[in-house]
């Protein structure tokens, strides 16, 4: 009996196993039950599993423990948390679960950005939880995550169920309304016994393509509830792989259209990255020598890189007036949103056949008339299309179809690249730095397969074109298509956690850096030794906003008064800001300083330290030279110097 009790206390046998063992040792069922009741609950040590069921396991414990147990089975390794009393029942559970590692961020938008970056770089769903009163602040990055269909489970606490609805301390009426548009699914947990079920559902819906953030609120009494027994859904029981293939007849029709097209253009969108389909889409492009652009992403690559940027068939971004190829009669859209039709004539002419292949069926055919809409996985479609084309035409015919398209595309791209390099050299030694000079210097020092996390405005393409994004080359985790500022540095933090053995560099505009408490991401970097290089492209301006405003030719432009966008005075010293978080850094003002600074940054991250470079870059466009802003001094307005 002593051995059986010891085994029970060590969680080596279940409650049922303990009772069976006692009965076999001669104890009555009642006596065995009585002895069991006198023993400390196994849940205190964190386990009470029914090992016979491959789909669920029983667990008894607090609500916080139930949540933690389900996070384990959802494959969570890192819990991105923001401070709040309501989060503490989960933190209590983390004390005895070292496999669930808390990463504390000191501003909730950063929790979401870190989880987002982690999810993108790990290709796994991520979990973050913070206080209920921080939900409005965090919602800007939830909006970004929703735009990009990021696989996030976002949670907050809430006031106790018995006290809610009274506008009392930190209460608000509808806990789900604030994130309604920015979540794929949302739920208020109102039964502690169902915590694992709803958590499981949140993970399943967030991760199932097309993904998107889901949102859970846990009233405090749910997580502090004790002695709750519930089923934990085992790992693998709520995965829904979306290997959706198109019907054979659909593939055949697509193949015929592609074969018969006189001038074909392919758009490679973010589904290609999501479904790990780059190789398949490249094979399709090469089979028929199809010139390819990244459709909805105007720089040619923004959220992710969906086609190797160094491939001879890659043209960059889509334009409705592309110089090459001309007279396009078929657009094959593989996995991205079709180009925004805009407010004038549509960006793809109505006379062009469009085949739109995406997993997100609800978007297909909503903006353009389609020749074919195909709700399927781009990887499967690309594979099936290649096979179908090969079965329908001879190798000689394939060669004929390809014609000289590969060479023509290669030559077109090479001429443009020659022009780009020539243009870049024109201001190579300029001070303040050009974006492209700075980025070229950064690129010189980085490893070939570094991760590049960016948050740029309209100057971004100039920087991004300095890199090669492709399998085996650099990986882009680009600014979200939502484009709400205040995401980049937090996201880079999450990327590094997901990819500790890769160099991670965050290229961040100064305006965006000052949004959403991003400098405070360095606190998290410093505390957890997350060695990321952050390069601030500091032009002391919201350059894009000023250009937009001045283009309207309104009073600001007429009077040369920049009411909105100048960020100098005070000229923010980002190096000092980093130093406040014990993050080393330096300022770069001239071209010859870039590479030495980057080498020092690389040495710092090799030692496990984050590093910040504050690089002064030039403003561009209308009003670039303005340093005017509306002066206001409350100090001078005072009647008493208090």
């Amino acid at each position: 009996m002593r051995e059986l009790v010891r085994s029970y206390l060590r969680n080596e046998v279940t409650r049922r196993g303990f009772i069976n063992g006692m009965v076999q040792s001669g104890f009555s069922l009642m006596a065995a039950d009585s002895i069991l009741a006198s023993l400390p609950r196994a849940s205190a040590q964190g386990q009470s599993s029914e090992e016979t069921n491959p789909f669920t396991r029983q667990f008894r414990g607090t609500g916080g423990e139930l949540l933690a147990e389900q996070l384990r089975d959802a494959g969570v390794e890192y819990v991105f948390i923001g401070n709040g009393t309501g989060v503490s029942p989960l933190c209590d559970a983390l004390v005895d679960r070292p496999d669930l590692k808390p990463v504390l961020a000191v501003h909730e938008p950063l929790c979401v950005a870190m989880a987002d970056g982690y999810s993108r770089a790990s290709e796994k769903p991520a979990f973050t939880m913070f206080s209920r009163v921080a939900v409005p602040a965090a919602s800007s990055n939830m909006y970004n995550a929703m735009k990009d269909r990021s696989r996030l489970v976002v949670a907050s606490d809430h006031i106790e169920s018995l006290a809610s609805g009274r506008d009392s301390h930190e209460d608000y009426d509808d806990t789900l309304e604030p994130v309604k548009q920015f979540s794929k699914w949302r739920w208020n947990v109102d039964s502690p016994g169902r915590i694992p079920e709803w958590t499981m559902k949140a993970f399943k819906l967030a991760a199932t393509p097309p993904g998107g953030p889901t949102f859970l609120t846990f009233p405090r009494d749910m997580l502090v509830a004790h002695d709750v027994e519930a089923e934990i859904f085992r790992a693998g029981t709520f995965d829904v792989p979306m290997t959706v293939r198109a019907d054979a007849a659909v593939i055949e029709k697509m193949a015929r259209a592609v074969i018969e097209a006189k001038s074909l253009l392919m758009l490679a969108g973010t589904d290609v990255w999501r479904f790990d389909a780059v190789a398949q889409v490249v094979e399709l492009a090469e089979l028929l020598a199809i010139p390819t652009t990244s459709g909805e992403e105007r720089e040619g690559f923004r959220v992710s890189c969906n086609f190797p940027t160094n491939h001879p068939l890659f043209l960059g971004g889509y334009s409705p007036h592309m110089r090459y190829p001309r007279n396009v009669d078929l657009v094959l859209n593989m996995g991205g949103k079709l180009p925004d039709p805009g407010t004038g004539s549509p960006r793809i002419a109505r006379s062009v056949k469009i085949i739109d292949v995406r997993i997100e069926a609800s978007d297909i055919g909503t903006d353009y008339p389609l020749y074919m809409g195909v709700a399927a996985d781009v990887k499967e479609v690309a594979q099936d299309l290649v096979a179908a084309i090969k079965s329908m035409v001879t190798p000689e015919r394939l060669k004929e179809i390809r014609g000289n398209r590969l060479e023509a595309t290669r030559q077109f791209v090479a001429r443009l690249e020659q022009g780009r390099l020539q243009a870049m050299k024109a201001d190579w030694d300029k001070v303040p730095l050009t974006w492209e000079r700075l980025t070229s210097g950064v690129n010189q020092v980085l490893e070939r397969d570094a991760y590049i996390v960016t948050e740029f405005g309209t100057e971004g393409p100039k920087a991004l074109k300095c890199f090669t994004f492709a399998p085996g080359e650099k990986t882009l985790v680009g600014r979200t298509s939502g484009a709400a500022l205040g995401w980049g540095v937090g996201a880079a933090t999450g990327v590094k956690i997901a990819q500790p053995d890769k160099q991670v560099v965050c290229l961040q505009g100064d305006g965006g850096f000052l949004f959403n408490g991003q400098p405070m991401a360095m606190w998290t970097m410093a505390r957890y030794q997350i060695p990321v290089i952050t390069v601030i492209y500091n032009n002391r301006s919201y350059n894009e906003t000023r250009e937009r405003a001045f283009a309207e030719e309104g009073r600001q432009a007429q009077t040369n008064k920049d009411m909105l966008s100048y960020l100098g005075d005070p000229d923010v010293n980002f190096v000092q800001m980093a130093a406040a978080f014990n993050v080393p850094g330096e300022q770069v003002t001239a071209p010859d300083q870039i590479e030495p600074a980057m080498k020092r940054a690389v040495r710092a991250i090799e030692e496990g330290k984050p590093y910040l470079i504050d690089a002064l870059v030039g403003r561009t466009g209308h009003g670039a030279d303005l340093a005017w802003y509306p002066k206001l001094s409350i100090a001078e307005m005072r009647k008493r110097k208090v």
């Binding site: 040619g300 007036h321 001429r415 243009a423 405005g457 309209t458 001045f550 561009t620 466009g621």
Partner: protein, 164 residues
């Protein structure tokens, strides 16, 4: 002083601006570009990304236009290296620092119209007479027909008129 919008900014708006291109020059209210070597390149290369209204709004030297074109190339404009020279020569000739700003044909005075380079006095009177008859011109094509000019002749002398 009249302010001019930045070409660089408009290039940034590759998508949105280019979506509004019903006419060859990129806008219903803009006149055709003046003839000359480089015009076709401007219309081909620049329209890939943005409409041409920002060209009409800008005045730069050839060096200034070269800087602008270089900036656009960095952002992805499909301009070949050998095209930069003819483009910038054309732009600096027709949209150089000494070229006056465009004026609204429907509100301009006789004196303002007379300041337009290349526009003869009888043409000014023709515009005023046609305007009095038509009320207001909605497009350059309306004015061209009213004056009875061929397209290139009209574009050469009347590209600095707006039709707001």
């Amino acid at each position: 002083m009249r302010r001019v919008a930045s070409l660089a900014f408009f290039l940034c708006l590759l998508v949105a601006a280019a979506a509004q291109q019903p006419a060859p020059n990129g806008s219903r209210s803009l006149p055709p570009m003046p003839p000359g070597e480089g015009r076709d390149l401007v219309q081909t290369d620049c329209l890939g990304c943005h409409n041409l209204s920002m060209i009409f709004q800008n005045r730069k030297t050839q060096a200034g236009w070269t800087k602008e074109i270089n900036d656009m190339i960095q952002r992805g404009a499909a301009v070949f290296p050998e095209e930069i020279e003819p483009i910038t020569v054309y732009l600096s000739k027709n949209f150089g620092p000494d070229v006056p700003p465009a004026i609204n044909v429907n509100t301009a005075s006789r004196a303002e119209l007379k300041k337009l380079p290349g526009v003869k006095a009888e043409m000014v009177e023709g515009i005023l007479a046609a305007r009095a008859k038509a009320g207001a011109f909605k497009s350059s094509e309306e004015l061209r027909r009213a004056l009875g000019l061929d397209k290139d002749e009209f574009a050469k002398d009347f590209y600095l008129l707006k039709y707001d």
